[in-house]
């Protein structure tokens, strides 16, 4: 790890002004950033620790929408009675991220701001049609995840919370990479009034919606509706852990299991 300056601002305004420096990085749970810095793959000149800011935590229902503060730890989301009541699939997803150490430090905001193509939360946000609230604006999940480790966030923009509309049914099925336990393939499905969403993580260069599957499930929300529906392997990752065709196959299997779990 190289030397860096460390800031712990008490307000979002202060954090945002510090973050305007392009050599500074926001630190949420640090579960990706800190290992990367230890390996000297990242060398920010300053870290802006968000843990001292009030108003970035807290989980509550507001009407039919679940509000989850950006600095909510995965373990908090997994154990929250509010989340478990409103969207049990989201609580289960959070409880399956990494290991207990990761879950007690990693945060919702950190995960989606990083947008690792194999992370779980992006699938939940996209699969539930969430809205990402920042210090500047509100961004629909469909517009937020723009590519591998890329998001719509601008410099100095800080996620404050995520708004999840409560679905009628939702399920998440993850096929974990045996080594990293990240998603080799993860599929989040939800049904809210007439809208069905199927979001896939791990399989491609970034989280994406499987529109053919959404269409099939819109007719009837049952695993059997997915028979014969697949995602094209050509767009998927192919690496030492899994070939593209195996990933494509697993998307189908996991989508069915997610529907069964919903």
């Amino acid at each position: 790890m190289y030397d860096f300056a460390f800031h712990r601002p008490a307000s979002i305004r202060k954090a945002a002004s510090l973050a305007a420096d392009e050599d500074a990085k926001l630190l949420a749970g640090g579960q990706t950033l800190l290992p990367t810095m230890k390996q000297r793959l990242a060398a920010p000149e300053a870290l802006i620790d968000l843990s001292g800011i009030e108003g970035l935590t807290g989980i509550a229902m507001k009407g039919r929408t679940l509000h989850v503060g950006a600095m909510s730890r995965h373990a908090e989301v997994a154990e929250s009675p509010v989340v478990r009541e409103a969207i049990p699939a989201l609580a289960a997803l959070a409880g399956g991220i990494g290991d207990p150490h990761v879950r007690n430090l990693g945060t919702l905001g950190g995960s989606i701001a990083n947008n690792d193509p194999a992370a779980d939360y992006p699938a939940a946000c996209l699969g539930l049609g969430a809205t990402i609230a920042t210090n500047k604006r509100r961004i629909p999940a469909d517009d937020f995840f723009t590519g591998m480790f890329e998001t719509a966030l601008q410099d100095g923009e800080i996620i404050t919370k995520v708004l999840f509309p409560v679905p009628r049914r939702a399920g998440y099925a993850k096929f974990a990479n045996p080594a990293s336990r990240y998603a080799l393939v993860g599929v989040f499905v939800s049904k809210r009034s007439r809208q069905v969403r199927v979001a896939v993580t791990g399989a491609g260069p970034g989280v994406f919606r499987a529109t053919d599957m959404e269409e099939a499930l819109s007719k009837r929300f049952a695993a059997r509706s997915l028979d014969g529906v697949s995602v094209p392997a050509g767009d998927l990752n192919d690496d030492i852990h899994a070939s593209a065709d195996y990933r494509a196959h697993l998307v189908g299997v996991m989508a069915k299991r997610a529907v069964d779990a919903a």
Partner: protein, 786 residues
């Protein structure tokens, strides 16, 4: 049996300090004024190092020195040697170029140390290492062991065809004749995947030169500190033996990877004099991945010949073994005398012929890793036996029993003389424990749930307790493989035992104390086991190859015999009786047929007070040493049965049942033995399902972190049912065979036999990842449909 004697489940004495963080590992040791070393490593798999410009590094704050291979050469520091001579078929000696501790001329694998930077702090040393400007001329690399012998790339000028040796064992003509009359021949091609050892504690070294006495002290993570000192003294010319103290304090796991002398501890020791400061280095995990000797990495073609009843007639094996870029200390004996000598398995095979080519590639050196050659042999034997039984339509258990060695001693066609065993007993017991008869019902139940169920046997045998010094010497070993012990009885009757064995997880402080406490009739807490320091223990051969019980404890037993004999002499004087009338039992010396007796502490005190016996006849004191050289290898063997359930939709293999019935001879501490079996199976399951060191074609290790290299975790493993059958080992006084590697040796074949049984398809490589199993299941389904 006493509560703490041989056979008792004594809780490990050492665990309190380990689990409370009170252990003392090399990295915990600090010497006032110590500096830190960081190595600059080759980022290329094969490259000529044209120059190393240290000027920028030397200008950085805190940097004390930068050294390269030229500096080592100037001080005549030698290269790391191969310690076991192997001759090729044509009689020529192996081509075994030494490994310079810092690159001289060219780097031959990613991670090969090019230079070292010594600085006041580790961060400064790291900054210095980054600031070095290394001018490389990149060369083509060869990575694949099957391609290297015909490659245009040459790693070492003095190793043509990138070949260390082309070796053979067994009777070729007799084996050909056996195949000529065979009723059925089974053929199999197998890969034994490359593994990274991954001891929990990374390697470390802390070296200190004392200018006043001209002597060095090296703390290091070693399984055999005396051997490290010998190699550094005799081959590397770092310091004469009597001026070099090597201490291996608590060591957090080795699995073989800490047997060898590595460049880092040599360089730290040498550099401590150069910079006039103690020098410390601790590997980070990435360094461990790219510098610790890897394991396995064989490609094998095998054929097994049977008569019409399924009796094995002959066995033919051709293996190419990857040594990596250099021959590591034990590497040359692993795919030869630790591998091909076990190809008879538990079976009476009339004729065996094995050929082994050991080759160099631009990869991390490969050496002994838990089991060392024997897992590779067991995988070949137990896979091909299973496939042969299936092909001939014979139940695999029946097929094995039909071919078991039943009379002992048994001379195999590949050197070994099995001394004792009862292979059918282990197999029968394992079949009972797993309810083999009920398997078909369980298979049908699984099928109803859409799952494929399979069962696989592995009847392994290993040669442990390495070994008679004369025997290994005749096979090319550069050292003898005895063990030493010294029993020091203090005046108050407690005891220190100095042993040349080294504990790095095995629990010697408990098991060795069990032996001593029982023999002397004293409490186990009255016994201290001292190991791992060349200034305390005179010499020892260290711990590997499951040898510490069979060899190390036998040396202690021999020293205890001498202690008892001398104590009896003293007791005879104290009791005014004839020496021949003295009996020693439960810590009390008594005169036969009388009520006269005296306790062990009274005798030990008297031994040092020395008032009551003639010191002209009996020397004062009570301290005895022994060197024990075994009369044979030991032959632990057993039967592991693995039962799996496969989800054909994903290819995920779930191990649902595991039975291990092992014959380790006399068991000293069943709890520790079970722990060894559990850990060994975990590593074997890791090899079979999860672990794989993957290089890309340029020689970068793609699996150099836990994000990509999959270690087995608790939720990958089932509950194990473990049991033992006992045939005492006749070749050592304690009847011990050894247990440290059995699980890792047995497990891979059991897992793969179970998976192939479930799939009805024999072609699946390790690790059998979900993707590999899914593909094989699809092929099997297609074949079944055709």
């Amino acid at each position: 049996m006493s509560e703490t004697g041989i056979g008792a489940r004594v809780r490990r004495k050492e665990d309190r300090r380990f689990v409370t963080g009170a252990g003392n590992y090399t990295d915990d040791v600090n010497i006032a004024g110590q500096a830190h070393a960081v190595f600059r490593r080759s980022e290329h798999a094969h490259a000529a190092v044209k120059s190393v410009d240290a000027s920028a590094a030397l200008a950085l704050p805190g940097v004390l020195g930068v050294f390269t291979g030229d500096d080592l050469a100037a001080d005549e520091v030698g290269a790391l040697p191969a310690g076991w001579m192997i001759h090729s078929k044509d009689g020529s000696p192996m081509n075994a170029p030494g490994h310079p501790c810092l690159v001289q001329g060219k780097a031959r694998y990613v991670g090969d140390p090019v230079a070292v930077v010594i600085a006041e702090t580790q961060a400064q040393a790291r900054a210095g290492a980054e600031a070095l400007e290394v001018d490389y001329e990149e060369l083509d690399a060869v990575i694949d062991l099957t391609e290297t012998q015909s490659s245009s790339v040459l790693l070492h000028d003095d190793a043509p065809k990138n070949t260390c040796y082309e070796w053979e064992l067994g009777d070729k003509a007799a084996t050909e004749a056996a195949f000529a009359k065979a009723h059925h021949v089974t053929r199999l091609s197998l890969t034994n995947n490359r593994l990274v050892p991954n001891a929990m504690e990374p390697r470390a070294a802390l070296a200190d030169y004392d200018a006043g006495t001209g002597s060095y002290t090296l703390y290091t993570t070693s399984q055999n500190p005396h051997v490290a000192r010998l190699v550094m003294s005799a081959f590397l010319n770092v310091a004469p033996e009597h001026k070099l103290r090597v201490i291996a304090p608590d060591v957090g796991g080795g699995f073989g990877s800490k047997i060898y002398v590595y460049p880092e501890e040599v360089v730290c020791t040498w550099a401590s004099k150069k910079v006039g400061r103690a020098v410390k280095w601790t590997a980070d995990r990435t360094e461990s991945f790219i510098t610790d000797a890897h394991g396995r990495d064989h490609a094998t073609d095998a054929q097994l010949a049977m008569d019409e009843r399924g009796r094995i007639l002959g066995f033919r094996v051709r293996t190419t073994a990857n040594l990596g870029a250099y021959p590591s200390l034990f590497a040359t004996c692993v795919p030869t005398y630790l591998y091909a000598t076990l190809l008879s398995g538990q079976y009476d095979i009339p004729a065996i012929y094995a050929e082994v080519d050991a080759v160099y590639t631009n990869t991390v050196p490969v050496d002994a890793y838990r089991g060392a050659g024997r897992p590779e042999a067991t995988f070949v034997v137990e896979r091909i036996v299973e496939v042969a039984a299936r092909e001939m339509g014979i139940d695999p258990a029946t097929f094995r029993k039909r071919n078991f060695v039943k009379k002992f001693p048994h001379q195999t066609p590949v050197i070994m003389t099995y001394d004792a065993g009862d292979y059918a007993a282990s197999l029968n017991r394992a079949c009972d424990l797993i309810d083999y008869k009920g398997f078909n019902r369980r298979r049908r139940d699984s099928a109803r749930n859409g799952k494929l169920r399979g069962i696989g046997f592995s009847n392994y045998i290993e040669a442990c307790g390495i070994a008679p010094s004369a025997a290994v010497g005749s096979l090319g070993a550069g050292v003898g493989l005895w063990e030493s012990a010294e029993v020091r009885v203090n005046p108050t009757g407690n005891v220190e035992v100095l042993t040349g064995s080294h504990s790095h997880g095995q629990g010697h402080e408990t098991t060795f104390a069990q032996l001593v406490a029982e023999r002397l009739g004293i409490g186990i807490d009255q016994v201290e086991i001292v190991h791992g320091d060349t200034d305390k223990v005179q010499f020892g051969m260290g711990t590997y190859g499951s040898r510490s019980g069979a060899v190390g404890m036998s040396a202690i037993a021999k020293a205890l015999d001498k202690v008892e004999a001398k104590a009896k002499k003293i007791a005879a004087h104290l009791l005014e009786a004839a020496e021949g009338d003295i009996e020693f039992k439960d810590g009390t010396f008594s005169v036969t047929g009388t009520d006269k007796s005296i306790s062990f502490p009274e005798v030990s005190l008297s031994a040092y007070v020395a008032h009551k016996f003639p010191t002209s006849e009996i020397e004062p004191g009570l301290k005895e040493g022994a060197f024990y050289d075994p009369s044979n290898f030991t032959f632990p063997a057993g039967c592991h049965i693995c039962e799996v359930e496969i989800d054909p939709a994903t290819g995920v293999t779930d191990i649902v049942n595991w039975v291990a019935v092992d014959d380790f001879g006399v068991v000293v501490n069943p709890m520790i033995v079970e722990g060894q079996v559990h850990g060994g199976i975990a590593q074997g399951v890791g090899q079979a399902l999860l672990e794989n060191a993957v290089y890309d074609s340029s020689g970068q290790l793609l699996t150099a972190s836990y994000m990509d290299y999959c270690m087995p975790r608790a939720d990958d493993l089932p509950d194990f049912t473990v049991d033992t059958t006992v045939t005492p080992c006749p070749s050592n006084p304690l009847g011990i065979k050894g247990c440290g590697e059995a699980g890792a040796i047995a497990a891979p074949a059991a897992v793969i036999n179970a998976i192939t049984d479930a799939l009805g398809h024999e072609e699946i490589a390790m690790p059998a990842t979900p993707q590999a199993v899914w593909r094989a299941a699809q092929v099997a389904a297609r074949e079944a449909a055709e």
